[in-house]
């Protein structure tokens, strides 16, 4: 089993080792990004800090709805939703929302994103730049990662930072 783990460095001072991580088996290099059929039902994500603690939470995503809406009305006890500002990118507006619990990000929702670049993908627990990779990966199921980022990464980080500034 392998895991993919995200860290945000840079302008997001002091935050976080991690946005999310997921496991995927060698025979299924891309988990939970199928465009149809609710394929994410088997995915699980864990949240963790930069240290060794982990707590497993199973998340569910809504098949076919993208971008996903605000999660503010669907929080479990102890969770807080923090919405970032709208960051304008060359491809269009990007806005993300963090779900925070005990000072840790447990989920990232994408509220707005350019619709001409990614279609019909389930979001849930993924960091936005990774989504672009995952989308590419879903089109070509046999890749592990993608070289060459996009304008939208900066928009993601900008929106993320504003949410972090408000909420953590």
């Amino acid at each position: 089993m392998r895991r993919v783990i995200f860290a945000v460095t840079g302008t997001v001072a002091g935050l976080v080792a991690l946005l999310s991580f997921k496991s995927h088996s060698p025979t299924v290099p891309v988990a939970a990004t199928s465009g149809t059929g609710g394929g994410s039902s088997s995915s699980s994500s864990s949240s963790t800090s930069s240290s060794t603690s982990t707590s497993t939470t199973t998340t569910t995503t809504v098949p076919g709805e993208f971008p996903e809406g605000s999660l503010a009305g669907k929080l479990t006890p102890g969770e807080t939703a923090v919405t970032g500002h709208v960051a304008n990118t060359v491809y269009g507006p990007v806005q993300i929302q963090l779900i925070v619990k005990s000072g840790k990000i447990v989920k990232v929702a994408v509220l707005q994103q350019p619709m001409n670049t990614i279609h019909d993908i389930q979001i849930g627990e993924f960091a936005f730049p990774r989504l672009i990779s995952e989308t590419l990966a879903a089109q070509n199921a046999k890749i592990d990662t993608v070289s060459g980022a996009s304008y939208t990464s900066a928009g993601y980080v900008s929106s993320l930072q504003s949410a972090v500034d408000q909420g953590l």
Binding site: M1, R2, R3, V4, I5, F6, A7, V8, T9, G10, T11, V12, G14, A17, L18, L19, F21, S23, P26, P29, T48, S50, S51, T52, T54, V90, Y91, N116, T117, I118, A127, P129, R130, I132, S133, T135, L136, A137, Q139, N140, K142, I143, D144, T145, V146, S147, G148, A149, S150, Y151, S153, A154, Y156, V157, S158, Q161
Partner: protein, 238 residues
């Protein structure tokens, strides 16, 4: 800066990421040109000497000078006139983060920092890493797939940073290519060479051809592609 880094590691190695992540935060605090109190900002303003900075800055400056020399001046630590070695620091920091995981006992992992990738070992027994190269002209599509073990991939282009890679010889944004991907063994140099090659434009083809251990693939603004003679060895056939 502000970069999202993803680690693809064996299951157990999630437990040893802390130091690598801590390292990346330290690099940002020390090298970010966007933080007024970073070593890089203070050194750039002349408010501290190199000797007062973290010794890693001296190491980075030497490496930048080397890339500048090898590229005929197409790589500089003052791309916009202001002191900013970020064109080297990102790849260097990612390469070192990958090396820290190796030191912690992982033989198979990859680290992707904003689209620049260091792959270590294979992704699994008998399974080489496969890195998709984004098509700069068709967002959401791949131009090709690079595969192998123990290699680095860096892509520079308009799709990565916007028109912000400056040709140091003209002071203007480089526009000769839509993107160029360089494959090498280690990400620090590979990433810096990709930046220099993008600034160079079409002339990068001959330049990379003459670099030992590096191969390149480029997409022109018109959508044509070219590659150096050894790049085919890195291309996935399926």
């Amino acid at each position: 800066m502000g970069t999202v880094v993803s680690f693809d590691v064996p299951d157990w190695a999630g437990q040893v990421l802390g130091r690598a992540v801590q390292w990346l935060h330290w690099v940002d605090a020390t090298f970010s040109p966007y933080r007024d109190d970073s070593n890089v900002s203070r050194f750039g303003r002349g408010s501290i000497t190199l000797a007062e900075c973290a010794p890693e800055l001296t190491e980075v400056l030497a490496a930048c000078a080397d890339v500048g020399e090898r590229s005929g001046g197409y790589f500089t630590v003052r791309p916009g006139g202001r002191f900013d070695p970020s064109g080297y620091v990102k790849g260097w920091a990612i390469e070192r983060a990958a090396a820290m995981l190796t030191a912690a006992g992982s033989a198979e992992h990859s680290v992707n920092g904003g689209g620049d990738v260091q792959c270590v070992g294979d992704r699994g027994p008998g399974q080489p890493w496969r890195v998709g190269i984004a098509d700069p002209l068709r967002p959401g599509s791949l131009a090709l797939v690079v595969t192998g073990h123990d290699f680095a991939v860096a892509t520079s282009g308009v799709a990565e940073r916007g028109p912000h890679i400056i040709n140091p010889h003209t002071g203007q944004p480089a526009t000769g290519l839509a993107s160029i991907t360089v494959v090498g063994a280690r990400l620090a140099a590979t990433d810096a060479y990709a930046t220099a090659a993008f600034a160079m434009g079409p002339a990068a083809r001959d330049w990379v051809e003459d670099l030992d251990g590096y191969e390149a693939f480029a997409v022109t603004p018109g959508g044509e592609t070219w590659q150096t003679s050894g790049f085919g060895d890195h291309r996935a056939s399926d």
